[in-house]
Symmetry: C2
Subunit: 368 residues, 2 copies
């Protein structure tokens, strides 16, 4: 059953929305109270194209939380179990953000500009409120706000070719999860080698909404012979690659260890961050459940609108939270959270989809 | 141009969504990452029905932030300029929540259960993060969390009749913006006389998702001869009544005084809350702009998807943020924010709608 989305000012347009609409977007979701395209041609067409050519994605919904001031680095470290002490000024770090119980509030990318200035490129949720209130409650000397910055992603095997045509040879110098300021028109943008796909590419942090459509147009003008198309994070491709979606695959009920993010929770004894005791306690005995790649047998399924229970002999032992048919792997690929008792690769389970039960299997790892 | 909404677990279903879908909902918006119905029959049919009969609204998107503990009342007062010192245990208060610059973060309703337990029934935004982080940063002895509570509203002139049939005569004892616990099945719910319409009615705070559909069904079974229908906050009716929508009519760029909420910012000299200095300073010289009722001339307009500039002699002097054709008042009714220089009733302005300019006028007040 399909329903229309009701528009209003509250569901914010992005600097690229007019381009997205002109390109014939078919569906949106709402993410950080902003419009995020989800389908252009159809999900399988978009998927094949992403894997073969290059796409331009309006991911302005990745809003930035800016921290600026003498206590910016101190506050940034308070937010995450990940040790930021060795992070360089051109690095981007994937950082779990947890509360005092060690539960996930967001899984953003932190971008370090300097010791006194950071951006946090957020997943869905008002992390701004968390960071602002902590600064206020702790009396820290730091300003926290949402700047006029809207990321545009260029993703796919031909991403470097397209980026070179607009930003020059310097794009090739940017290593994975590093960033560099590159010139566009009369300004410069932070450009990072990153993005929410496994096909490679870049994210351009467009500072100043007025540059949105000029950059959008420049990329399409430069990439005609590269078969550039508008795109968006693709459900099938992200599941194949095991890219988690906050709100879908985990939420405030989960810990970083449950999300398989233990490697980002290695901290020194003397470090100070919110949730330290809870994270340390869980690390000492291990998580009770964890994210797993799950295959679902049978014909193509419609993606879940709610969590689907995973059962063994009628007992609930986990849930599937994202699922889609993968044309390349000729199976339904899924992401689930499975209890320790049943998370070993090869374990056969039953998944209660919205259209009845299916056989499911815990896989060794994700598909790509 | 209509677009589909893409469903996923991240856009949470409510305890009533299955009833809403079965009733033939046509459109949704997303509010607090949850599905909020916006149209059943069509917006004008829904409007006339709301004003003549009784509707049941899935407003589970009004999530609750629960504060429980010895410092609950202290924290609650820190959040708002409104003086809570005389609030009784059965009262509901509309409370602007502001940051340290006196800017609006949310405009929820606070429900006092006791000195050590509160609910905040929120507008769109993760106020939970703000309240939790403040408690943590300030070292307060209070737990802050989102409980399993989903409001269901009963609105319209026949609301009392319908409520009496399900909850008994006690519903008549509840005064405006007061609440009482009433029995349903084997439990009790907080029921308040309140709601996001000017037609009168109640909000039932359904504690325990498993009671959602039983209550939904009980209301429809009891109200067949009252012509009860499913409904939702109605754009036309709320504009006629001057009911503001956070994210539409105001956001983090605005102050309570700009929103016409000065009466909720009368505080005693010794009181302590976040943003006090900023609020006091603005009160001393008055706001620079303020919410106004605006009529827009000419034929029926399509509601705005973004703010429409208000111009005088080509200069921007404000903006319209909500607008719709009112069948009862035979004009386009609108809510706007207008600069002090042009906010007097009767001022004629030009509004730049998405389909060209229209004549607009600042009205004395809202329509009902």
């Amino acid at each position: 059953m399909a329903h229309n989305i009701s528009y209003s000012r509250r569901l914010r347009r992005t600097p690229f929305t007019s381009g997205v609409e002109a390109a014939g977007v078919k569906s949106f979701t709402v993410y950080n109270r902003m419009l995020l395209p989800t389908v252009f041609e159809d999900i399988e067409f978009d998927y094949h194209h992403l894997k073969s050519d290059v796409q331009v994605w309006d991911v302005a919904v990745e809003r930035q939380v800016e921290l600026i001031g003498p206590d910016a680095s101190k506050l940034m470290q308070m937010l995450t179990p990940r040790d930021l002490s060795k992070m360089q000024d051109d690095q981007c770090y994937y950082v779990p953000i947890v509360d005092d119980h060690g539960k996930m509030l967001n899984d953003p990318v932190a971008i370090k500009h300097s010791d006194t200035r950071w951006w946090i490129s957020i997943a869905d949720g008002d992390l701004l409120f968390w960071v602002k209130a902590l600064a206020l409650g702790m009396g820290l000397n730091v300003s926290v706000f949402e700047p006029d910055v809207s990321p545009l992603a260029v993703q796919g095997p031909k991403a470097s070719d397209l980026m070179e045509r607009v930003f020059g040879n310097e794009v090739h110098d940017i290593r994975f999860f590093r960033q560099k300021r590159l010139k566009f028109a009369d300004t410069t943008f932070v450009v990072s080698r990153s993005g929410y796909s496994k096909q490679g590419g870049f994210e351009i942090y467009v500072e100043g909404s007025e540059y949105g459509m000029p950059l959008w147009n420049a990329l399409f003008e430069a990439g005609g012979d590269l078969n550039v198309r508008p795109g968006c994070p693709n459900l099938i491709e992200r599941i194949e690659g095991g890219l988690l979606s906050y709100g879908n695959d985990m939420n405030m009920e989960n810990t970083p260890l449950e999300c398989g993010l233990g490697k980002f929770c290695k901290f020194a004894e003397g470090s100070e961050f919110i949730g330290k005791d809870a994270i340390a306690l869980e690390a000492s005995h291990g998580p009770a459940r964890q994210i797993r790649a799950i295959s679902i047998q049978g014909r193509a399924i419609a993606p879940p609108r709610a969590a689907w229970p995973l059962l063994k002999d009628g007992e609930r032992v986990g849930q599937v939270t994202s699922a889609a048919w993968s044309p390349d792997f000729a199976t339904n690929v899924a992401i689930g959270m499975v209890d320790a008792s049943h998370w070993d690769p090869g374990t056969e389970l039953t998944v209660e989809t919205s259209r009845g039960p299916r056989m499911a299997r815990v896989e060794e790892g994700f598909w790509i």
